[in-house]
Subunit: 323 residues, 2 copies
């Protein structure tokens, strides 16, 4: 992985991914006690940054492989990003999802043009199903984060942050990134190391699911004890990736851990002050910016609002924190 | 009013107002039956397009007048836009609001740096209060829509729409604008007449408050029978402006009237598919796009989501339409 791969991805994404805005509000600055900027990736196609990685992977495949189609395992944002990127490339996408995934997510993924293959979590092996389908049809597997083309696509977010912050006169900041497997975090870290040396990435995670924070602290890959039970489900992964972790270890500052309730309050502030919809997992960076600014040293913070795919009941729970 | 005034305003706004994104979703296209684009002015500073007019007016005043400060009558988006634009110019703003305005709006306007002067709707004459303050302190009144500098500022939205739509290959569209006094609608209409001749503006209003639609139909200024009682309060005005109406009569197509319930459903779609927060009055254009596309002839529609300053209870009412 290197900056040239991210720059090449930016060229491929140009005119296809959205250049999402960098937002701010004096009301958020007042909460944090320093300037807060929010990179609104919830406004990306399919409602999360995952479209960047999906497009980067699809557009980076050789034509003879791409035309056979792609396959991904996901019930969430990665599925939608890959499905839509494939549809726009005019190739087929198979998305393998658990049969008990929310019906709306299954419907949305189908509506974006993908073939959804359901499996029973209790009795079936999804990897075996995927391997069989890939072999039968010549599909290419698009991994959610431990894949250079995907990391390169997510890293284009960092190139935009560097340019947009410079336009606003911001040259020194900590960049707070909601972190799951580390695809986005490592991509942004590589981009900023090359383009904005005054910026330092800080991975942000929900309490109880802080594998990256602990891995950075010990210097080796640590696992989460649990993989379910968080409202921040979009960013819960077993452990940092084999490719993403060394990049994070080289370029990132210490992780920041936030409480689930803080993520909900950050969602409410984003609603009230920025007029954007973010999901709990996508609000962890903003929660760190607003409620843990004392753990940052830079004169400004930039939070990446990574996704907005939240159902109404959870959003209403967030709004209730305003009362 | 002419296009040169809008271009001059664009130069003054550059680097100060946000270039808000033009969003879309295949799910919205499916509802409308044609491509739908949404100009997300709810993401503008202070949560509505009104910041453009406020900045345009402040920056367009001669220095010797500006330094004395400005005054505006408003309990809503215009107040916040003027207050913040004045604060960023380092000059004082007096905002005259009814004493029974929502406490949060009063607090927000003060937090943006304005001096709020409250009056009793039943016993006091706000125009007299404003005239006295303006005379005593040399303040300049910034009218909400019937003022060329304000129309020029709002019109910059139209310049951006023309450029962003062209980037997407859209050269023929109807532009559905939530319409109150007509400042935004007439500004966009003038901008598009000059920059995008394949585009036609259609003013959009809530049922029962369709003064502009009726005025365009009869060719003379018609009044609303009522001025309260709509969730779409942000765009309820007594009648089109003396400056804005002739511009709309020359450049706009017929108005489109939507039901309040359709505005709520459009807010819910914007939440679910675009991840933006819009207020009822700011959703009228999107409601027309989604639920009245049969009244449009162009192959695509562009709805302006004019503002996002909505309280939680009303937003929850909108979310409830998804159930």
């Amino acid at each position: 992985m290197n900056i040239d791969m991210i720059r090449a991805a930016a060229t491929r994404l140009d005119g296809h991914a959205r250049r999402t805005p960098l937002l701010s509000s004096p009301f958020l600055d007042a909460i944090a006690g320093k300037p807060v900027f929010v990179k609104a990736e919830c406004l990306q196609h399919t409602g999360s940054f995952k479209f960047r990685g999906g497009w980067s992977a699809l557009s980076g495949l050789p034509e003879e492989r791409r035309k056979n189609g792609v396959i991904a395992f996901s019930s969430g944002n990665h599925a939608q990003g890959v499905a839509y990127a494939a549809a726009l490339h005019g190739v087929s996408a198979v998305i393998i999802m658990p049969a008990d995934a929310p019906k709306l997510k299954i419907e949305n993924t189908r509506a974006l043009g993908a073939e959804v293959v359901l499996y029973d979590r209790a009795t079936e092996d999804r990897d075996a199903i995927g391997a069989r389908l890939a072999a039968e049809r010549g599909l290419t597997l698009i991994k959610p984060y431990d894949e250079p083309l995907v990391i390169a696509g997510q890293g284009t977010t960092g190139l935009e942050i560097a340019a947009q912050a410079a336009d606003l006169g911001v040259h020194e900041a900590e960049v707070l990134v909601c972190c799951g497997g580390g695809g986005l975090t490592s991509g942004i870290a590589l981009a900023l190391a090359a383009e904005a040396p005054g910026f330092k990435v800080r991975p942000c995670e929900p309490e109880g699911f802080d594998d990256v924070t602990r891995s950075l602290a010990t210097g080796k890959i640590e696992r989460n004890a649990e993989l379910t039970g968080s409202l921040c489900d979009a960013i819960i992964t077993p452990q940092p990736g084999d490719i993403t972790f060394p990049i994070m270890a080289e370029h990132c500052g210490a992780g920041i851990v936030v409480r689930e309730e803080e993520a909900l309050r950050a969602m409410a502030q984003a609603f009230q002050r920025l007029k954007i919809v973010i999901e709990p997992g996508g609000a962890v960076g903003l929660a760190a910016a607003l409620f843990h600014a004392d753990k940052t040293d830079a004169p400004a913070v930039i939070a990446v609002a990574t996704g907005g795919n939240v159902d109404e009941p959870v959003f209403q729970k967030a709004l209730a924190t305003l009362g």
